[in-house]
Amino acid sequence: MPLLEVENLSKAFGGVRAVDGVDFALEQGELRCIIGPNGAGKSTFFKLLLGSIKPDRGRIRFRDRDVTRAEPHTRAHMGIGVKFQHLGVYGDLTVRHNLQLPLQHSLSGEAMDAEIARLLARLNLAGTEERRVAELAHGQRQWLAIGMALAMRPVLLLLDEPTAGMGPEETRETGALVHSVHEEGVTVVVVEHDMAFVRQLGAPVTVLHYGRVFAEGPLAAIESNEDVRHIYLGASRTMAARGRYDP
């Protein structure tokens, strides 16, 4: 039984079918990348998984339960951790309070302090507890967002463009962090635009195109697939010319 099973999932906005009959499955302990040109439906698919939008059609099963209509907070407690594309942090609060939000469900007092210290060390953020998040560097904020998702102790971690806006060094460190989380047994899905980062992760890839699963398989096979290269390079050029952007 897969950890996550998606059947015939569809969602339309206005006249645009952003996600169109997607089937998708993840085994426990997998690391998977989802790629696709701009407008392929990656972000919509991501939001359908976390529950902030509901599908027009199709089913989502997670840990043997139908969660198609479940609210995001329910899914969060079932073990889906999320890092959003754009700064998933609260700029007005301090680093400590950002981490406190996911942790205070189960911890308090010294146990919480210890967990915050542990997370900060892991995220290379030690010493920033009392700083307002808006004052952090961009890469640090991205890590903090990943840390907040980890603080939920997820079974399945969804990362939407975790390296957006990062330099090469930070990107490498992020890759190492993703690998170490995966090695702990967490199932990880990375929605990514940057092929360099996908190569660094070296995980199996699902390609979305026009809201459908276009191809799926090991990284090497996907990279050598002519059709994928065509849509990824060719299509992204024409899509950019038409001005479609990821909804």
């Binding site: 339309a12 206005g14 006249g15 079918r17 027009d56 001005g243 952007y245």
Partner: protein, 296 residues
């Protein structure tokens, strides 16, 4: 004969209610649909239209022209307001709500200070006709036709004119529209001006049926708000039509059977029921239905 006069009475009331809702909401819903801004000073735009109409009428200008002048005056006022105030609050919906409410207070209280409690009202033109024992005003039927014509005109404007295309592009995706060379800030200014102009025009039309004072517009705004909430902002014309037809029906029935207050309460209750079922308003719901039908 009694059933006929009852039905005529009901239809007359329905048309009148629809006209009132459509006229008071049309300017508001354009601005909300296109810019996402709720203009809390909309009632004051209607008030400006009514004041100009009254002053122009008593200056000897033909009434029809006076009403149009009211619309133009409110439109100009709206464009000035957009430039001085609204512009600073793009993307901050709640702040624009509060700022325009402040403006509404200044305008209505300012009018009170300058012109006093009431100004001269304008007589209702056209006379009346009788069916059975009840008499009906021709002017109210005329207003209904004008309201329908305004909605049709709006549809044509967005559909066929260059401004309409630019406006829709701006509404869909302002960043993209700018990249394609649309002067979005001009589109916003014109849209706001259009919305307030229609508000002023409606104010002038309705001024011929009531007394006019500084708080004249405020009596229409609650209904206008309900109409906008039910209609939603996705498809302005469809939303407005669906909203005034459904709200008008329920209000007419309750007004006919009980009183105006319960008519208003019924509208509000219907609004709450509709938002519970279709949180983004009727127009958004219709839009999604259409997509599904097309898919089959």
């Amino acid at each position: 004969m009694e059933t006929i006069s009852f039905i005529v009475g009901l239809l007359y009331q329905y048309a009148d209610t629809i006209a009132l809702l459509a006229l008071s909401a049309i300017g508001l819903i354009i601005i909300f649909g296109m810019m996402g801004v709720i203009n809390m000073a909309h009632g004051e735009m209607m008030m400006i239209g009514a004041y100009i109409t009254s002053f122009a009428h008593y200056a000897g200008i033909p009434t029809a022209l006076a009403v149009i002048l009211g619309g133009i005056g409110a439109g100009l006022a709206g464009m000035i307001i957009e430039r001085l105030v609204i512009r600073r609050f793009y993307g901050q919906l709640l702040s624009s709500l509060v700022a325009t409410w402040g403006l509404s207070l200044i305008l209505s209280q300012g009018a009170l200070l300058v012109f006093g409690q009431l100004i001269q009202s304008v007589p209702t033109p056209f006379g009346s006709f009788t069916v059975g024992e009840l008499s009906y005003s021709y002017y109210r039927m005329f207003i209904f036709l004008v309201a329908m014509a305004m909605i049709a005109g709006l549809w044509a404007l967005f559909r066929f004119t260059r401004f309409g295309v630019r406006a829709r592009a701006t509404m869909e995706n302002p960043r993209m529209a700018r990249a394609l060379g649309v002067d979005t800030s001009r589109v916003y200014a014109l849209t706001f001006g259009l919305g307030t102009m229609l508000g002023g025009f409606a104010g002038g039309l309705l001024a011929l049926t009531s007394t006019i004072g500084p708080f004249y517009g405020m009596t229409y705004t609650p209904q206008a708000f309900i109409t906008v909430v039910v209609g939603g902002g996705a498809e302005i014309v469809t939303g407005l039509l669906a909203s005034v037809l459904s709200l008008g029906a329920i209000k007419t029935i309750f007004m006919n059977q009980t009183n105006i207050l319960l008519g208003h309460v019924a509208m509000l209750v219907l609004a709450f029921v509709i938002i519970r079922l279709m949180p983004s308003g009727i127009s958004d719901w219709v839009e999604r239905r259409q997509v599904r039908v097309r898919e089959r």
